[in-house]
Amino acid sequence: MYRYLLHRILQIAITMFLLIAMVFILFRVMPGDPASMVLDPKMPPEAKALMKKQLGLDEPIYSQFIIYMKNLLHGDLGRSFYYGRPVYDVIMERLPNTILLFTSATIISWGLGYALGKRIAWRRGTRFEHALTFMGLLFYSVFLPWFGLIMIWIFSYRLGLFPLGGMITPELWTAGGAGIIALVLDVLHHLALPLFVLTLLSFAGAMLLMRSSMLETLREDYILTARAKGLSEKVVRDKHAARNALLPMVTALALSLSFSMSGGVLTETVFSWPGLGKEIVSATLNYDYPLAQAAFIFLAAIVLMANLVADIIYAYLDPRIRY
């Protein structure tokens, strides 16, 4: 196990290095120039040069890369060109918002997908299965921004049940005097609609994955044994079939969870959700190299770690797997 872990961590380190180099180069070959965004065109040339020097942009690319890597190894992600604040602070400010929305949506979708998937596989060929599969696929193929806007129009604009966007009501937070419960309720009120839309449009993925995995498991001989043993239908379905069908779900869920950290760029835009996805777009558009690089590297690290965690959980769930 330790040998395996060591091996995997080394693998992750190599992957990360290659990825950082790629991201670094990609941003620098992108047309355009951070100086044009940061610097006022009416500035005198000497001031421009001075500022470029301060940002470290006068150095050749390879030495910029070496400096960047050195700082990274010390845990220093640099300063955002745009905000003028440490990149780390900006990311840590946005990330919890993204986690709140996307991680809860992912967990609810997968929980729902698991519960429905095992049931429709168990009752294969019934109207119940056809209806759920059809509905799931229908919502799965809907374009989220379009659907999101329609939902906002119906529930927020026409019916006035939910806010039009954002994560909080600023007046409530700045005025003071509001209790903690009122503040939590305010966030939940903002969260409800995007969470509902995201879950509705994504549960089918998990459901169909669970369904096919479950159908495969139901063909196994040990399921026949379980039924022959006189176990109740529910025990056969949940303890014997679903437990085994869960195995392929773990990897997919871990990946899905890690990708959810990036936040849907489109979703966050539609619902004006102040998360990481929205930040990545603006950082890229603003030539904010340190922020954009850090965000990408950060997400890649999460994806790689999630894979490792999935493998470890896998070994725990399936006694046949030992590293």
Binding site: D221, T225, A228, H240
Partner: protein, 321 residues
């Protein structure tokens, strides 16, 4: 009232190509403590018959006619819950692919405990105690009950599956090709073990196999199945000494004799019948050397002859050297 009886059972699978008539009228009678060997080629309906008894057939299978009487009660009329209680407690089964009959993610001992606790009102510790006894009974080290199936060898898994089948002391045990996946040495050990256990526990047993040698060693009565029907049945010794049905004769000719020098082995010409559209008349007639016009038009009934049962129009005339 017999201990166990099947009357006129008919069953088909509904497939996209039509109805596959897997069981086309089977009658069977067994006394308590008897061992019946059910022989026949692959695809003749042996396994379907075993699964019908426990009502474990897949959803596309339909039993259209017949009764399965256990202690005089028709199993086909039981509710799903009544049936659940009968399974394993009264009738249990060793499956064809015993290699995969154990769930890979649970410990072997726990899977047996689960079966016991589903039927008996005893504590988990008592059930574990019984697992140890069962393990010793089938010749497994009780210390290995805490291991997972993949940590067992093929022979050990087979023994574990047999131990599991015996867990609730069933009255009737259906063993469907329990040793096909094993090498000859293990086969012999397991067969002997099962035979020993059957005598010790007074179990009634249905042994489904294509291996006539095994039947001759362990069973009292033998029935031969062909094309979804029983074509011949009688005491094992009688049947092997004087097989009456041409198909049974062919089966016996195709096994090498154990003690005599090996002469010519003959195989049965042709293919087993399609159960999708079985031939008219006797289902064996296309492969039968003795077939005449009547065999192609009229289906021979299973009738009494020389102390056994045979379904052939010309059983009296067909010679056996």
């Amino acid at each position: 009232m017999s201990f166990f009886e099947i009357q006129g059972l008919r069953m088909h699978y509904a497939t996209s190509r039509g109805r596959v008539k897997a069981i086309r009228g089977v009658d069977l009678k067994m006394d308590k403590g008897q061992a019946l060997g059910l022989a026949g080629e692959s695809g003749c309906g042996k396994t379907s018959l075993g699964l019908s008894i426990l009502r474990l057939l897949p959803n596309n299978a339909h039993i259209t006619r017949g009764r399965i009487l256990f202690h005089g009660e028709d199993l086909l009329r039981k509710s799903e819950e009544e049936m659940r209680r009968i399974r394993w407690k009264y009738i249990s089964m060793v499956f064809q692919s015993a290699m995969n009959a154990l769930n890979p993610v649970y410990r072997v001992g726990d899977q047996i405990v689960e079966a016991i606790l589903a039927h008996e009102d005893i504590t988990k510790d008592e059930a574990k105690e019984r697992v140890s006894e069962l393990f010793s009974l089938v010749g497994l080290d009780p210390g290995r009950a805490g291991q997972y199936p993949h940590e067992y060898s093929g022979g050990m898994r087979q023994r574990a599956v047999i131990a599991m089948a015996l867990a609730c002391h069933p009255e009737l045990l259906i063993a469907d090709e329990p040793t096909t996946a094993l090498d000859v040495i293990h086969q012999k050990q397991i067969i002997e073990k099962m035979d020993e256990l059957r005598e010790k526990l007074g179990m009634t047993m249905i042994y489904i196999t294509h291996d006539i040698a095994i039947i001759s060693e362990t069973c009292d009565v033998m029935a031969v199945m062909y094309g979804g029907k029983i074509v011949e049945s009688s005491k094992v010794r009688d049947l092997l000494r004087r097989p009456m049905h041409p198909y049974t004769q062919g089966l016996i000719r195709s096994i090498p004799p154990l003690h005599d020098s090996v002469g010519r082995l003959t195989s049965i010409e042709g293919e087993p019948p399609s159960l999708l559209s079985p031939p008219r008349g006797c289902s064996f007639n296309p492969r039968c050397a003795y077939s005449r016009d009547i065999c192609r038009t009229s289906e021979p009934p299973l009738r009494q002859l020389n102390g056994g049962l045979v379904a052939c129009h010309f059983a009296e005339e067909i010679p056996w050297p």
